[in-house]
Symmetry: C2
Subunit: 298 residues, 2 copies
Amino acid sequence: MPVTLKDIAKETGVSVSTVSRVLSGDKAISAQTQKKVRKAAKKMGYRVNTVARSLKTSKTYTVGFICPEITNEFFMKIAKGVEQELKQQGYSMIICNSNENVADEEKSLRILLEKWVDGMKTDAVLVNNEHASFALVDGLIRRGKSRIAFVGGNELITSAKERFSGYLKALKENNIPVDPTLIRFGDFYLQSGYDIMREFCEMKNAPKNFFISNYFMQVGAERYLQEFEKGKESEITIVGFDDMEASPLFRFTAVAAAQPMVAIGKEAARLLQRRMEGDMESFPLISRFDVEWIQRKI
Amino acid sequence: MPVTLKDIAKETGVSVSTVSRVLSGDKAISAQTQKKVRKAAKKMGYRVNTVARSLKTSKTYTVGFICPEITNEFFMKIAKGVEQELKQQGYSMIICNSNENVADEEKSLRILLEKWVDGMKTDAVLVNNEHASFALVDGLIRRGKSRIAFVGGNELITSAKERFSGYLKALKENNIPVDPTLIRFGDFYLQSGYDIMREFCEMKNAPKNFFISNYFMQVGAERYLQEFEKGKESEITIVGFDDMEASPLFRFTAVAAAQPMVAIGKEAARLLQRRMEGDMESFPLISRFDVEWIQRKI
DNA sequence: ACAATTAATGCAAACGATTGCATAGAGGTG
DNA sequence: CACCTCTATGCAATCGTTTGCATTAATTGT
């Protein structure tokens, strides 16, 4: 049904190869023929069949993005950056939801491989986690707070570790002893933020200042505080990460270190392109971005 | 570089067609040959080349999802439903971000068409908007509130209209006169929710009860109220739509009508599949879901 | 034991584009 | 005018699968 090069060739009386050459901008074709072919192509509504092209060129101009959870604003901001950057080069992006589970992830991977995507993301683009959390905690200390509780993410994950060491470093540089009862780890998700905040608040000598390792745990923590600090003129101060759609609703958060996620996504796309162009030497590439500081309350 | 049917054929001494038939489950092949071929395929790490297959069968097993904004939790919940349903049938989904602008949308569309996606979403899967907003407003009235302000979405959009008529109907059935000063329309985005809420609150006789047409405007409205009702023991009550990641942080919202978006996405995927299987008669299909009621405060 | 089925496999032509090579004129040079 | 060089174009193979049809071999019926 769709128009092919062959149809155009028949219509214009030239060969398929000539049509192909005109349409892919080969200038070794006479101006006259070019005009004729282009006109016919336009009139007939020709659209290149990328499936056929890919088969021949073995380039699909498609990249895969396997994402733990596509409703998660965090990942999608990265995806957005990736998409923006790639679209300019004519690539498109297949997004798969691994649903945080390995079976789904493998399934997605298999599908993507079978579709011969040109690339997938394996490089790391990160922010200066340790420095950011150091600065957040240090800032709290400079404002006179010294009992600062730490709400961590999954201890096995690098960024969680880095954020923890930033916290430790800030205490150390300010000669504040580490108090193990003020340190707890969760899993980066809302519920764990809620639970940990509750545990802290139920301590006999509850801390009033918190470093929370990511946005979602922070939503949980703020949620808990809203329920249980209702009305009271609260003394609580939180510092944390990221700036999302709903961050403006946070009431206890003083400062946040926002990761420039769209920029991170764009950088990731650029690294991926280098890879696809055959730059295999520097693999995997690692890039670090600076965070942006968001002041929420004074 | 990758293993092809030809390679397997050479290895096993049968023809390419036989290999193809074995691997696509044609049972007219002897058990012996089947075993031999399968073993070789496995050993050699064969993976079907879907590009070639698609060229031949003109089925890509890919659907396109053009989305106004991929960082928007609302659209991504739908996308998640679509993805879940389609993945089971071996489809994958190309997600494009139209960035709310027509040029980008056309660009995405062109790319998708050139990739010969099998389908794109054009059916409508909706909730019973009018009924849901009727029920929300009616509920407020039954609790004794009669001056209820309406914060609408983009007036041109069907769902915004439907929600408005539900509001009107609730007033009418309860014999409450419509007060035009209590009706304002925005654009479904955060900022307009913030602005409209401010306008209402600055009225000499400011209303205390609000129906807000969607989640994002509600975030904006809650944001405004947090800033300006700080501390005061507020009398304000909001009813609205949807249940998202950050909804638990809402302080003024009493009830919300949550659209089952993942289910909506799944249904959309099913409709799309019917379309792809050639059911062109009932086009476009429209399905309606019931909302779920979320009680937030009493 | 021979025709008629049936079962198992191979041949070859697609699908739509790309591209190296061949070729037919046109124009230039001595 | 013979020779060479371009320029513009066509031919045909190729990418990896799928699939209708032909073919061979094995099985069945009588």
